[in-house]
């Protein structure tokens, strides 16, 4: 049996940075994952968008931190994570969406986000060749960007290793023992671990892990599909998000990564609930038709690979970050709703401040992302 100050379940988008920031502050940290290496759950399925462009103060502030951390990763640690500050662009083709985004803009600016409404001409300048038919303009947040999910996972993994974090792979958590309000031991398929604090950062498996201590956490994964093209000479900078819903999908988005490949993802409607990540024949024609219609220039690019990934969704589309009331030594950092990659670094840093430095500056985040909230809101920019 091994003992740690903090024991994290999940070596993914959230667990990796958290482990690093805790270890950096002197904590002895263990991280367990059922996969054979770090970032092999949903981290690897992310397409790489990093934005602070959200509709609420908690995620905006967390992601602003993430952007700060990721953009300095190479400068501070010599680790290239393919960061590109290309911005996020939401082109708008209908009146209702224009009104809704312009309304949101006011709030977003209040929360400190750098974002503006831009003209159709500006949209076409940012994405040369994008369809001008009915284009009304859109929002553009220039500080957002993208990074390679796998390289980001690698960066936090190596930083964590150097800071002394123990990683335990190929072990599935099968049992969590608890006495009263205190969790005493985590038992895995191969071994067992004790710690002062246990963190559930299990991503798509968050609900099952929570159930081990009898806690129901409303995280239900649904599956989204993504793909990547061959590389072509860079011709647009921002992540382009088309929010128009149609009969089979809610939205889709794409950008050109540092390898000059276009990476894209679609949100199917109705949702595919569950953990099935096998490809179906539906996805490609669906997403491609939307992309070529928006951006005809893409018709000649070749698609290289496709995959599915899970969005661990909560009922309102916001994460759950909480020390549950009936336990004295459990932290939930779950339900990232497909945004673990962009939330993870900032959240990791903040949680380390809370855990180690007992910082009380982040009450607003804990209030907003509480397990005990109503879950009645609705994240517009899911």
């Amino acid at each position: 049996m091994k003992n740690y100050d903090v024991f994290i379940i999940g070596a993914g988008s959230v667990g990796l940075p958290l482990s690093y920031y805790l270890a950096k502050k002197g904590k002895k940290v263990g991280v367990v994952d059922s996969m054979p290496s770090h970032g092999r759950g949903q981290n690897k399925a992310a397409i790489g968008g990093i934005r602070a462009t959200h509709s609420d103060p908690a995620k905006i502030s967390i992601c602003q931190r993430s952007i700060d951390i990721i953009s300095k990763m190479e400068e501070e640690h010599g680790l290239d994570v393919d960061w590109i500050q290309g911005g996020y662009m939401f082109p708008v083709y209908d009146e209702a969406k224009e009104a809704s985004l312009k309304g949101l803009l006011v709030k977003q600016k209040e929360f400190g986000l750098i974002i503006d409404w831009v003209s159709p001409e500006k949209i076409q300048e940012l994405a040369p060749g994008i369809s001008p038919d009915g284009l009304r303009g859109g929002t553009f947040s220039p500080n957002d960007g993208s990074a390679c999910p796998m390289k980001l996972a690698d960066a936090f993994y190596i930083l964590a290793k150097r800071a002394g974090v123990d990683f335990i792979f190929n072990e599935e958590v099968t049992e969590m023992k608890y006495e009263g309000t205190s969790i005493t031991e985590v038992i895995t398929s191969k071994s067992s671990y004790t710690a002062d604090l246990f963190v559930n950062a299990a991503g798509g498996n968050a609900r099952e892990v929570s159930a081990l201590v009898g806690l129901d956490v409303p995280v239900i994964p649904d599956s989204h599909e993504a793909g990547v093209t061959e590389p072509v000479k860079r011709f647009f900078e921002p992540m382009i998000v088309d929010m128009r819903a149609n009969e089979n999908s809610a939205n889709y988005y794409f950008y050109q990564n540092k390898e000059d490949q276009i990476v894209f993802c679609i949100t199917p409607e109705p949702k595919y609930y569950g953990k099935d990540m096998d490809n179906t024949s539906v996805f490609l024609p669906q997403v491609v038709e939307r992309m070529v219609s928006l951006y005809p220039r893409l018709r000649n690019i070749r698609i290289r690979r496709t995959w599915r990934g899970l969005y661990p969704m909560t009922p309102d589309g916001f994460p759950i970050v909480n020390f549950p009331e009936n336990f004295s030594n459990l932290l939930l950092a779950v339900g990232m709703c497909g945004q673990g990659l962009m939330l993870g670094p900032g959240l990791g840093q903040i949680l380390a401040e809370v855990i180690v430095d007992k910082s009380d500056k982040h009450e607003q985040i804990f209030d907003q992302l509480s397990l005990y909230r109503e879950f009645s809101g609705n994240e517009i920019l899911k």
Binding site: S37, G129, I158, V288, V292, R299, N300, R304
Partner: protein, 687 residues
């Protein structure tokens, strides 16, 4: 243009139209409809692209649409030149680094999903797929047969040599190319088989559909009840410095260029790997007028059939066993290849290095099954059967027979009451046998009338000589009681020489005693003779040792077998030992004297798509304690256009070099698409 205009076995295609095209502004010509890559190679072009890493030159590699090393800018678009048909007036340019996506503001045209339905989808129209489709069609199933080439037959079409096996089960003694055409005719005679050519399966999906990219412009979703995966094999790659130089390519690519497209791609070749593919590669080269300088193999015995290697040695191609390739070198293309002996740990002994001047290095170090569609279909719980090389690497003779069984197995899975004769399964096992024991045999005593002298001395699954003899004068003897046994002449011969003509190994001669001093030996010769009656030719024993120079006294051409029958007047003493004619002299195959070479093994490329070196992979494995192949994607291994098809066979060795036991490593994940597809095709956009 460097074309093969005179081939001993292949006929010149008729009615081809010569067209002009430009390459980097220079006007060249080629045949309309042939692969752009072949047209370029016939014009001496070797460099197709300049890779973004270190401006490395890049040439063709697979010639099979699988990798994308032959990508060029054709009329403004990046296209794989090995699967793009040449058209008059094409403007072709070298691809420098990555292509530009042309501006295109035309709104999206009409789009749609194309659907098809069948009982059984047969994935691959090579030897096993063709026979499986026929079997299923006979049982009244509605079959869709898909193949990525424009002609059915798969690798059969590249085989100019006669096949092993038995006549009844797999057309033994007939040339592969002729078998391919015969099977294609059979398949096309069935109304319930729909053939889709120029059609690549790019994914098998969970909703029991396969996505098919067809004619470079459309996408069809095929719904099926069962799927037969007969998608063949891909060639394994090899890690050595210079493995990315233009002029290093797979033996299959060479066969495609030389035998399918009749392009004289090389002057001088060296071959790594002594399996049947490598041995045949040398033979095909010689038939095309290309010098085969040597074959090396790291193992201490020849991997292929001995009759093949004996034949190659008789022609004058040395086989270097316990030798590995150290490096390929040259200024932007292969100019020299250096090999060296290996010690008991397979480490090269640099002091034994030999350097050869060649322009092409063929990699023939084995095949690995194209099994991803099978694995995918199986994981989804579909009714699936695999066949041919996609199931197990073996000769095409075995694939043809195995395809029939696969067809019957699929019928059973679909609920048809079909019985598979147990003897079929036994035969299938025999046909895929590896070569067995070598049996020494005594040279026969000759008399005045012609008799066959059999030089076949290794157990292989082959018996056409026994079937073809009108007198029943050749029988198999041995412990197997099947076609693995070895043929012996039983004293009854009409002198018809059919056995000699049909023998795939060219391992039968006809000989007779003329008098106490001289004899006549008739030798099968699959080359265009460069000698005439009255000339002296050098004759060798079975293993390629020159025994004597002898006068040609008679020359005939057997049209059926497309084989010249050369009669030489020899000494009686050697006559029964003489097995072949030397076609290539020693000076051609000699290594360079005092050649320099550079050997930096860590600079060899593991991933040829993204140009990741051995050193980079080893360093990464060590620093990140990698135990999961998927992690290598972080340094781009497996992220290129081939999707890990080429590097996956090399990765285990690299883990070994990094001190990691591959048993502890989780293998990589494969995902669709298996071939890159342009967006317009996926939605069948009408332009």
């Amino acid at each position: 243009m460097d074309r093969i205009t005179n081939h001993p076995v292949l006929d010149q295609p008729e009615g081809r139209k010569l067209v002009n095209f430009s390459f980097n502004g220079k006007v060249l010509d080629g045949y309309e409809g042939e692969a752009v890559s072949s047209a370029l190679i016939s014009n001496g072009v070797k460099e197709f692209a300049i890779h973004k890493v270190n401006d490395n030159p890049q040439g063709i590699y697979c010639a099979n649409g699988q990798c994308s090393h032959c990508t060029l800018i054709i009329d403004g678009f990046p296209l794989k030149s090995c699967i793009t048909p040449l058209e008059e007036g094409m403007k072709i340019k070298t691809l420098v680094h990555i292509p530009e996506l042309p501006m295109d503001e035309t709104p999206m045209g009409k789009t749609g999903i194309k659907n098809m339905k069948c009982d059984v989808l047969v994935a691959g129209g090579g030897p096993s797929g063709l026979t499986a489709a026929i079997e299923l069609a006979k049982l009244d199933f509605k079959v869709i047969l898909v193949d990525d080439k424009n002609e059915l037959g798969g690798k059969l079409l590249l085989q100019t040599h006669k096949f092993f096996g038995s006549i009844a089960d797999c057309y033994a003694g007939t040339r592969g190319i002729d078998i391919g055409h015969k099977l294609e005719d059979d398949v096309r005679s069935f109304e319930n088989i729909t053939v889709l050519t120029n059609a690549s399966i790019v994914g098998v999906y969970k909703d029991q559909k396969a996505g098919i990219f067809i004619d470079n412009k459309n996408y069809i979703l095929v719904e099926f009840d069962g799927i037969v995966v007969s998608s063949g094999a891909r060639e394994k790659s090899l890690v050595f410095p210079g493995n990315n130089l233009p002029g290093v390519y797979g033996a299959g690519a060479f066969q495609t260029l030389v035998n399918r497209d009749l392009v004289r791609s090389s002057e001088r070749i060296f071959i790594v790997g002594s399996g049947n593919v490598g041995l045949i590669g040398a033979y095909h080269g010689l038939q095309a007028g290309i010098q085969a300088v040597g074959i090396c193999d790291i193992l201490d015995k020849v991997g292929g059939y001995k009759v093949h290697s004996d034949k190659i040695k008789r022609m004058g191609v040395p086989i270097y066993l316990r030798h590995t390739v150290l490096c390929a070198e040259g200024d932007g293309k292969v100019e020299r290849v250096t090999i060296a002996e290996v010690d008991e740990n397979w480490h090269p002994l640099l002091e034994t290095a030999k350097t050869f001047e060649v322009d092409t290095l063929l990699i023939a170090v084995g095949l690995s099954p194209v099994d991803e569609f099978y694995e995918m279909a199986k994981s989804f719980g579909f009714k699936v059967v695999n066949a041919g090389d996609a199931k197990e690497i073996a000769e095409a003779s075995s694939a043809m027979f195995g395809g029939r069984i696969a067809g019957m197995e699929m019928a059973q899975l679909l609920g048809k009451d079909v019985e598979i004769d147990p003897s079929f399964l036994e035969k299938a096992e025999v046909l895929k046998s590896h070569p067995g024991k070598i049996i020494e045999r005594e040279a026969p005593v000759l008399n005045e009338s012609f008799q066959p002298v059999i030089h076949c001395d290794q157990e292989i699954p082959c018996n056409p000589c026994t079937s073809v003899c009108p007198k029943g004068g050749i029988e198999l003897r041995g412990e197997h009681n099947n076609i693995m046994d070895i043929p012996y002449f039983t004293d009854d011969c009409s002198g018809c020489a059919l056995c000699m003509g049909i023998c795939p190994g060219l391992a039968i001669t006809m000989a007779r005693k003329v008098d106490g001093q001289f004899a006549e030996v008739v030798l099968p010769h699959e080359f265009i003779p460069n000698f005439e009656i009255g000339d002296k030719i050098r004759l060798t024993d079975k293993d390629g040792e020159v025994l004597e120079e002898a006068e040609v006294v008679k020359m005939r051409f057997n049209k059926k077998f497309k084989t010249h029958l050369i009669t030489a007047k020899t000494t009686l003493e050697n006559a029964a030992k003489i097995a072949g004619i030397r076609v290539q002299d020693e000076a051609i195959v000699a290594p360079l004297e005092n050649a320099d070479f550079n050997y930096f093994p860590e600079e060899a490329l593991v991933c040829k798509c993204e140009h990741v070196t051995v050193k980079e992979v080893i360093d990464y494995i060590k620093e990140y304690e990698v135990r999961d192949v998927n992690q290598l994607k972080n340094i781009r291994v497996g992220m290129g256009s081939c999707g890990g098809k080429n590097c996956s066979t090399m990765v285990p060795r690299i883990f070994g070099m990094a001190g990691v036991d591959y048993k502890d490593v989780t293998p990589g994940t494969k995902r669709p698409l298996s071939v890159e597809v342009p967006m317009f095709a996926l939605i069948n956009e009408e332009k």
